[in-house]
């Protein structure tokens, strides 16, 4: 429910480290520009992909429609007991 700021910062920082940090530490050589471009594009695309998935779920407008059996199995194997009543 809502965005966990810490989590967003964590993933943003992770992909920033890979993209920007990785580009800085690539060794000099004929392939340096290519490697930098690849790292930055990868980091950008993967971060955006994760962000879209996270943002689509942080304020869901509908919930899952589960059958009775599934709810009972969920309760048992995912350790979410059903409230009595």
């Amino acid at each position: 429910m809502g965005a966990a700021v810490l989590l967003v910062l964590f993933f943003t920082g992770l992909w920033a480290a890979i993209g920007i940090g990785g580009s800085i530490i690539t060794p000099r050589g004929p392939q340096q520009k290519l490697t930098q471009c690849i790292l930055m594009l990868t980091a950008g695309c993967c971060w955006l992909f994760w962000l879209c998935c996270y943002m689509a779920q942080m304020n869901p407008l509908i919930g899952p429609r589960l059958s009775k059996k599934v709810i009972q199995v969920m309760a048992q194997s995912w350790n979410m007991p059903i409230t009595d009543g």
Binding site: I38, L48, F49, W50, C53, N59
Partner: protein, 818 residues
């Protein structure tokens, strides 16, 4: 700038080479593979060029090499493969003479042996048939009647009258021979007809197959003896035998003579066999020794021919002391060419070294991008659409990542991704051994092994985010949805399905990817659809904005700064203000609308559809909101949207008229003959050359504008294929699991084992065949289309031609394939 950012700078060079050093220098240049020579003699017939005799010699040597190869193949002698480091260099003039002599000698020997062999074989066959005639006619002549009637048994013509009398009395003559069994029956009928029934034909089939001299195949033959009377009939019978290709053999009628003849024939057969064996041995020896060298000879001859071909491009200069050639060389390779020329001069010990001179030109140079084995696959994908113009920005650099990524968005499934990664890894680890396989379809996969590896790796990531492993989800971090209904509701008999409400059931957002509860939900597709559609539009608009920005790089490089203001700015404004704003609305809706918000206008029931909002924005329309809801998402949205649409509409005439008016203003007023109709370039991408009439420019710009405006909408919608293929993939995967593999879980114990074994076979076969191969190829194709059409049409010109250097490696590879 980096290697692949744009194609390399090329220089047009003139080479001055001494004629005696020419051969060696060109050989060195061929080994280095840096120069694309231009044909300076293209108006001269090939038969009138300087080195035509040498080319003829090479052709003759090639013919000889091919003949030897054919003989080797006929005898099924294997040629040893040549290691790449054992590749011979082009032969120098002394070696050429040796090579020619050797090839001539080998070819003549082989031809002689073939001719001799053929005649020996024919002889052998005749002996064998004679032998079978002698053996098989035992039966005929031992019959008493026949002996009595045999005219040949008479005393040998010392009494002519007796012979005459004998003939008159009706002594039988006979003809013995061998004929093909299938022809025998019509042969018999023909003999019957010509002799009017006065002929007696006996036959005995030869057991086993004999060789037919015409076709060399094995056929059934039969021995026949025809008995008849009279000299005339004999002639006729002999003619019929010739017509039916029956071999007639002299066969004595007396048993003693026949026995002698058989012994004679047997010894001769033995002799012939020995001779045949020895000839076969000799031929084998010659062929084996040739086979050892043949690979080297082939390469040497090919290199020679290529060198003389190139030498024919050169022009002798006025004094005749020097050959002049022209060629394109990448600027970075100029030192290499210098070194090759100096090596060539040294090898041929010429007094004056060759030298090279860079000349400036207005012609468009060829496009050359240096690639390694990783990037060459992606560069090929881009070049298939069209070769980049000289020094144009190269989209292949970005394609290295965006191509596998967009593929992965459509393919996202971790299980199938693992299969792709495994296959690609095998191809890459076994690179050396697999490089020599010549089969075409395998070569296609092998050439794209790095592309497949990257596609698999990105698909692993997107499969992780989509939370899809062979249509099942992983629960790593604990689901964020908890059932809040109590036991009585859950166990109620009248209720089948229960829908969770987000504000009570959702207590956390799943941190990495899609929550695993959705895989179990009935309405999974509704939720995933909105997510994937928005995702596709986000990536689509970003990809297109990237494409439009690339055009700025081109404008800066070609120094068309005015175009940045006249073309790029309206294009990017149009795209950003309309579709960038739509992406903004998507993110805003994700953030603001909430099931647990207190404001009713921000509740899920009131969340507006982005598509309806967008359509109303374009049409300046309005929609009555539901009870308690607001039409717009934030304050001032209506005003903001109106401004955006008005500015976007202003961009259209800006695009349409900006550049043509600028060109018109720039042209001098007194341009001679402006009514000269110049044929517009067929590609429609003419850059408004000085002699192009204004109407052409206006029309071209109109076409570009309409194309761009319509493409913003159609291409944005086109990116929805990312959603469509992803949905199809997930659904197919689910169907295969539920309909095929799950069937195996119904049964228990031993029967269950066997059923699971069978259903797993079917499921895995269909997974690899349909989901990995067919869906993979389909997603590959769609991604390629997205790149070629939606991305590259925003900036790519593609009017160049490829750099085709003179390189022995390339020539040998091409010959190997062809």
């Amino acid at each position: 700038m980096g290697d692949m950012f744009r194609s390399e700078k090329m220089a047009l060079c003139q080479l001055y080479i001494q004629p005696e050093a020419a051969y060696a220098s060109i050989a060195e240049l061929g080994e280095s593979g840096c120069v694309q020579f231009r044909d300076l003699n293209d108006q001269i017939n090939s038969f009138q060029r300087k080195y035509v005799n040498e080319v003829r010699r090479c052709d003759e040597m090639e013919r000889r090499v091919r003949y030897i190869e054919n003989q080797l193949r006929k005898d099924e002698i294997k040629m040893p493969e040549l290691d790449p480091d054992q590749e011979p260099s082009a032969p120098n003039p002394r070696e050429i003479i040796d090579l020619e002599a050797q090839l001539e000698k080998t070819e003549n020997e082989l031809r002689e042996m073939s001719a001799n062999g053929a005649s020996l074989h024919a002889n052998f066959r005749h002996m064998q048939e004679l032998k079978s005639v002698l053996e098989n006619t035992e039966g005929f002549f031992s019959d008493q009647e026949v002996i009595n009637l045999d005219s040949n048994r008479q005393t040998e013509g010392d009494d002519p009258t007796a012979v005459q009398a004998g003939a008159q009395r009706g002594q039988l003559a006979f003809v013995a021979g061998v004929i093909k069994l299938e022809r025998f029956f019509s042969f018999e009928r023909m003999l019957w007809r010509i002799s009017r029934g006065n002929i007696f034909l006996r036959r005995n089939d030869i057991s086993g197959l004999c060789e037919d001299e015409e076709t060399g195949r094995q056929v059934l033959k039969t021995v026949f003896v025809a008995f008849f009377q009279g000299e005339q009939l004999k002639q006729r019978v002999k003619k019929v035998c010739t017509g039916y290709h029956a071999d007639v053999y002299p066969c004595p009628s007396s048993a003693v003579e026949r026995a002698d003849m058989i012994r004679d024939v047997n010894t001769r057969l033995e002799d012939l066999k020995m001779v045949l064996n020895q000839s076969a041995d000799h031929r084998n020896r010659v062929l084996s020794s040739a086979a050892k060298h043949l690979a080297r000879w082939t390469i040497m001859v090919k290199k020679m021919k290529a060198i003389y071909h190139i030498l024919n491009y050169f022009n002798p200069d006025v004094t005749g002391k020097c050959l002049i050639g022209e060629g394109w060389v990448p600027v970075r390779d100029l030192p290499t060419v210098q070194q090759a020329l100096s090596r060539g001069s040294k090898l041929s010990e010429s007094s004056i070294p060759a030298f090279m001179n860079v000349i400036s030109t207005n012609e468009q140079p060829p496009t050359f991008t240096r690639t390694n084995k990783f990037t060459s696959g992606f560069q090929n994908l881009i070049d298939s659409y069209g070769m980049a113009s000289y020094r144009e920005v190269n989209p292949a650099l970005y394609t290295c990542i965006t191509f596998p990524f967009l593929f992965a968005v459509m393919f996202g499934d971790m299980g199938h991704a693992l299969i792709l990664v495994a296959f690609a890894s095998w191809l890459i680890i076994k690179e050396r051994q697999l490089a020599s396989i010549k089969e075409e379809i395998f070569n296609i996969f092998f050439g794209g092994r790095y592309i497949i590896l990257l596609m698999g790796l990105f698909s692993l990531y997107t499969g992780l985010i989509y939370n899809d492993v062979f249509s099942k989800s992983m629960n790593i971090f604990g689901s964020g949805w908890q059932n809040q209904y109590n036991t009585s509701t859950v166990t109620d008999e009248n209720i089948e399905y229960l829908t969770m409400r987000p504000n009570i059931s959702n207590f956390k957002t799943y941190p990495l990817g899609m929550d695993p509860v959705w895989q179990l939900a009935d309405n999974k597709i509704i939720f995933l659809n909105t997510f994937k559609m928005k995702l596709s539009i986000v990536f689509g608009v970003l990809h297109m904005i990237f494409g439009v920005c690339m055009s700025v790089v081109n404008f800066i490089h070609y120094k068309k700064y005015a175009s940045i203001f006249l073309e790029f700015l309206p294009q990017i404004l149009f795209l950003l203000l309309l579709f960038g704003y739509m992406v903004f609305m998507m993110f805003y809706k994700w953030i603001v609308y909430n099931d647990s918000s207190l404001d009713q206008s921000l509740s899920p029931g009131c969340a507006p559809s982005i598509l309806i909002l967008f359509i109303n924005m374009m049409l300046f329309g309005n929609q009555e909101p539901l009870e308690g809801c607001k039409e717009y998402m934030f304050e001032g949205q209506e005003l903001l949207q109106t401004i955006f649409v008005v500015v976007a509409i202003i961009c259209i005439p800006w695009m349409l008229l900006g550049k043509p008016l600028y060109i018109k203003a720039k042209r001098p007023k007194n341009l001679p003959a402006p009514n000269q109709t110049v044929v517009a370039p067929a590609g429609g991408h003419g850059h408004g050359g000085d002699d192009e009439p204004m109407s052409e420019i206006f029309i071209q710009q109109a076409i570009h504008t309409i194309e761009y405006v319509l493409s913003t909408i159609s291409h944005t919608a086109s990116y929805l294929r990312l959603w469509a293929l992803s949905l199809a993939h997930a659904q197919l995967s689910e169907v295969l699991w539920n309909m095929i593999f799950s069937m195996g879980f119904i049964f228990d114990s031993y029967i269950g084992c066997i059923v699971i074994f069978l259903t797993f076979g079917a499921w895995s076969g269909l997974t690899v065949g349909i989901l990995v191969l067919i869906e993979g190829l389909s997603a590959f194709l769609h991604t390629l289309r997205l790149h070629w059409v939606e991305f590259m049409s925003k900036f790519y010109e593609g009017a160049g031609y490829a750099f085709a250097p003179f390189s022995f490696k390339q020539i040998l590879e091409d010959e190997g394939e062809g």
